[in-house]
Amino acid sequence: MLRTIDWTIMIVYFVFVLGIGAVLKRYVKTSTDFFLAGRSIPAWVAGLAFLSANLGAQEVIGMGASGAKYGIATSHFYWIGAIPAMVFVGVFMMPFYYGSRARSVPEYLRLRFDEKTRGLNAVSFAIMTLFSSGISMYAMAKLIQILHIFDSPFARLGLPQAWIFHFSLVISALVVLGYILLGGLTSAIYNEVVQFFLIVAGFLPLVWLGLKNIGGWQGLKANLDPSYTHSWLGMTNAHTNRLGVEWFGLTFGLGFVLSFGYWCTDFLVIQRAMAANSMNSARCTPLIAAFPKMLFPFLVILPGLIAIALPTQNLAHLAGGNTTIQGQSEGRGLIPAKMDASGQPIRDKDGAVELDYDLATPNMLLHYFPTGILGLGLTALLASFMSGMVGNVTAFNTVWTYDIYQSYINKKASDAHYLWMGRMATIFGIALSVATAYMATRFNNIMDMLQLVFAFVNAPLFATFLLGMFWKRTTGHGAFSGLLGGTMAAALHHALTLPQGGVPGVKGGWIATLHVYPSEMAQNFWTAIYAWTTCFVITIVVSLLTQAHEEKELAGLVYSLTERPTQQGLHWYQRPAVLAVVVLAATALLNIVFR
């Protein structure tokens, strides 16, 4: 299926990836160079890396899948669930992250609150990053298998096809390891920028061909039920829209709690802004990222919509020949049905066939791209998986070295020692990710449960940061007990509710079922809302009961005790406030156009 030209493109890309690391190696002299890119990255580079670090497997494959399943309403994950939070972190929070000279998000918590709050955040974050990068690796190896990328070279070399999975894991781990070890965060950021352009270059022609084929947006509308092509239709009630969520759960749960919790507190993305070369660059980083982010739905969601809107057809050409694809006759558009072990399509409780939505975007690539550009498209897909993995690994090695190793294990080593430790952390971080990837092949339930636990830990985070940064009375005890309380509230809410049709267990209701949500998404959003609110209230109450921090300790860490960053001498397009207004106005406009 893949020809010499496709392989050439893929190999040229990997040579470049490692080449960038090799060139940057001589600039890495101190731990700050390795972990924070020497705080020397220009705003636009940091901005694109900020976007790219989040652009993992979930994004390209997952958003295409959601596009096919939920329609254009998936754009809420961008226009409601990302842009406002990105604007907020740039305009209001970056002055404290960057201005405090903290080297990581947990370190900010140490400066603002106390050791135990930092420890809690650092440890849970470190475990979570390893887990996510492992999942990303697993998804990539699976995808390589499904797309039969290595099938013919393996057959030619006489190697068993079962090794493709192992080979994919090892090769991706080695590439990522190679360029992080060489160039540290600079190398990661540079590669993320390359990945950003590559993903655009790989998906733009796909969307163009797809839209041309189906007759543009009007053609999509003509071929699909209106619920696919309107993002706000039926949002007053959870039962009348494809997402199964009502507007309040959507805007408060996703748009406020979950999205602010991610974009404003997750070190994975904040690290990119901390590496910027000035306070103003750091503030502009998420704002610059917001512009492409706003347009990404067209790149990643539309392929899914097109895949489901096309007439159902024989998919044999996707497998490159005469083999039939399982489940194609029960499928829809380019998306086959999910099949069970006996070769029967899997049906949900209403008897409707379940589609394998994750194949929407990959099948679009195979359907429209001839050899040549197919190599480019697949390279873009692999690049997106790698950028997600790398973001996690660089965040892990920093938090491990600064917030765990330097704080609790070896406090007074030389900078060279911490640099060495960072490299070691990269190696064992990646080794543990590979182990996680193998665990995912064996114990799917453990993975689901871990993911759930992380959701509980993350949900309340933003309440802590919001109070910490904007209310000087917040205390360390308040923050710590708020986080614990919020996490417990999330677990409790999950234990007492179920999504419609769910069986008590990992889906919820493991204590009792007091309420049934119309969808899993609605349940998730409301779990987050309860966690956030509980954390917010407990933090305030406990803070008022405990002794306040001295004001002079909080200078530069809290809004009311910090000088506003000056915007004098900047062009209008360099001012965070101006960028913020433009990006919010454009997002509002998109919502109106696609309502």
Partner: protein, 65 residues
């Protein structure tokens, strides 16, 4: 920081552009049935080459200053 990122991007996209253009010219035109009869390799190769050239230009100018 040492290396201007636009240079490697410029090189990479120029190489991809040239590869796609050359392959688009040489390839059997029947493979373009799936891309609606459009020689997408040739057309997209030109776009990538142009983008790569612009990046190289900006990167070189940026490095000199």
């Amino acid at each position: 920081m040492g290396l201007d990122i636009r240079l490697p991007i410029g090189f990479l996209f120029s190489i991809f552009g040239v590869l796609l253009i050359v392959f688009g010219e040489l390839s059997d035109k029947r493979i373009y049935e799936r891309s609606l009869g459009i020689n997408i390799n040739l057309e997209w190769g030109v776009v990538m080459l142009l983008f790569g050239a612009v990046m190289l230009f900006l990167g070189r100018r940026g490095t000199k200053v």
